[in-house]
Subunit: 344 residues, 2 copies
């Protein structure tokens, strides 16, 4: 955890602990073998970025409170409510489910420096565990009534997972499509990644306020941060060190999934370099992944993608800037900076 994320986590520390507790309570089973799998997958729980987005958005959108210095009021009480905790737990569970199923799609062996479920227990257990997590996410979510404005949290979450699945299906059908456009790439990463971070911020805000403006500003922030996050993830798949990142790398190359640096490279690199990249992507040689990484890492295509991510972060910060200043919005700003600064 970077200092920035650490500071944000401090602001919402007790609530994150409550999310942890609810996560464990929701998944507890009377079957020991189910608990064993759940415990293992619990180790993948890393930065809790998505619950943090819900909680910090909830704080940032909450109506201004009297100063805590004023005596005789309950200003010290958090504006975060039980629905915030539930929603934060639901999105974390949805995210964990997508990780478990993603690792099957990617044949990944390593996740957060531990063995993946598919690697340890086979694809069968991984399919089922992902289903179990998503089922419990909806189950937990159905414990919530609509918010006071009648907007339905369950409907929004289910809509979000619909779109995530479409994004993954689009990515899957475009494997080994060397003509993938930037436009389709952005459509894919919006659907598979950014809509969930957008929804996190929207849910947190919705549970705090009925002011449409604040909800939309935070949703925009969440969307832009999610897009930038995925671009950086795709850069790390090419340039990162597996030791630092802690998960299988080169899987985009291995699975024939073009990402922003590769798309740029195929359009703008010298012709012989473009031809070499296609040859390597199509080859079956054992060192092809490493050779693709060595070909693209030093190129301007990485710079191009990184600049894209930085621009998105600037847009995210601009959206945040339309809200009243608060420690929560400062923490969200720090989280945005962290997205492009991270090496893992």
């Amino acid at each position: 955890m970077t200092p920035a994320v650490h500071a944000a986590a401090n602001l919402i520390g007790p609530h994150l602990a409550a999310v942890d507790d609810l996560f464990a309570a929701e998944l507890r089973s009377d079957l020991p073998h189910v608990n064993a799998l759940v415990t293992h997958v619990g180790r993948f729980r890393g930065k809790m970025l998505r619950p943090m987005l819900v909680l910090l958005s909830g704080l940032a959108a909450a109506p201004a409170r009297p100063s805590p210095e004023e005596p005789d009021n309950h200003a010290a009480a958090s504006p975060l409510s039980p629905p915030h905790i539930t929603l934060a737990t639901v999105v974390e569970m949805v995210h964990m489910a997508t990780l478990v199923h993603d690792d099957i799609l990617d044949d990944a062996d390593v996740r957060r420096k531990g063995a993946t479920i598919n690697h340890l227990h086979g694809n069968e257990a991984a399919v089922l565990l992902g289903d179990f997590l998503i089922s419990h996410a909806y189950h937990l979510c159905s414990s919530l009534r609509s918010n006071p404005n009648g907007q339905d949290y369950s409907r929004l979450i289910a809509h979000t997972t619909n779109v995530v699945c479409e994004g993954e299906l689009t990515q899957n059908v475009n494997r080994r499509n060397w003509k993938l456009t930037e436009q389709t790439y952005f459509d894919i990463i919006y659907r598979k990644t950014a809509i969930l971070t957008e929804t996190c911020c929207r849910l947190g805000a919705m549970a705090s306020t009925s002011h449409r403006f604040a909800v939309e500003a935070l949703a925009t922030y969440g969307k832009k941060v999610g897009l930038a996050f995925q671009i950086v993830d795709d850069i790390l798949d090419i340039c990162g060190s597996q030791k630092a990142v802690g998960k299988s790398l080169g899987t985009d190359i291995e699975k024939g999934k073009l990402t922003l640096p590769m798309i740029h490279f195929l359009k703008h690199a010298a012709p012989q370099h473009r031809a070499l990249l296609i040859d390597l992507l199509e080859s079956a040689e054992h060192d092809r992944i490493e050779r693709v990484r060595q070909l693209i890492s030093p190129s301007s295509s990485i710079t191009y993608a990184r600049r894209h991510a930085e621009n998105l972060i600037a847009e995210a910060l601009a959206a945040l800037g339309t809200l009243p200043a608060s420690s929560a919005s400062a923490a969200l700003a720090e989280m945005a900076h962290f997205v492009t600064a991270r090496d893992r």
Copy 2:
């Protein structure tokens, strides 16, 4: 479709057509490749047993209406409401999702006489399509408010899928466990199969009446029918002809999943036959599945399992018998008989 099921379908024909329409409308995507997969999976839609259970239970639980002969009333109007249609569509979608993921777990190539998604498009597409179906099931379900008595349909459906996943996980962890007991077998088939048919009947009844007695009687019927259905499915995996059944057979044997006939055989057959069964289950010979089927098919273990199913059907009919007679309950009785009579 047998005559019995055909008669039942006639009674609820227009509503089943509405389920078909809602199923297609809910899954329609702006992405052509998603629609193509959904169309393919639509071909697996067979008997629509689960929507029929919802609709017929809805009719069977509805308060008695004035006779249709009486003039000047709207007795001809069906007591089935839009929530019945939605619930029937949701359970069909949940069922389709489990079929798609089951076919991955079973490495099955054939389903309803067509190629499975995993066989045609790979495991990746099958994982994602199953996720897409389950996501849309919850999405559609979240369009429903609670019923007039405040019972939450979404919560019950999510609880049901939680338990289904636990059943599948328990089955998976017990693969190649030759000491599996009847008790664990029944726990597995209740969780993976019978809870969904139980929930179908419960949902249909809940949407029609607040009378707890009728709801519980229909839930009992659904549970017993589901247990019997699974036992017959497990018998067909051993004794059925793939041509008649229309899906890959022998998968229980191939995957080391003990079913009721095998459990009985391992406990009651002559010692040399028991030893032979274990040898075959553990062997890697290409004809082992056929040899297991030939070993068990003529044995009393099949009779034993079939009698178990018949007893469950008798219990289902007894539960039905506590309700007022109606054409809907007659149709449910015929469906129960069909479960043990079927050869596919």
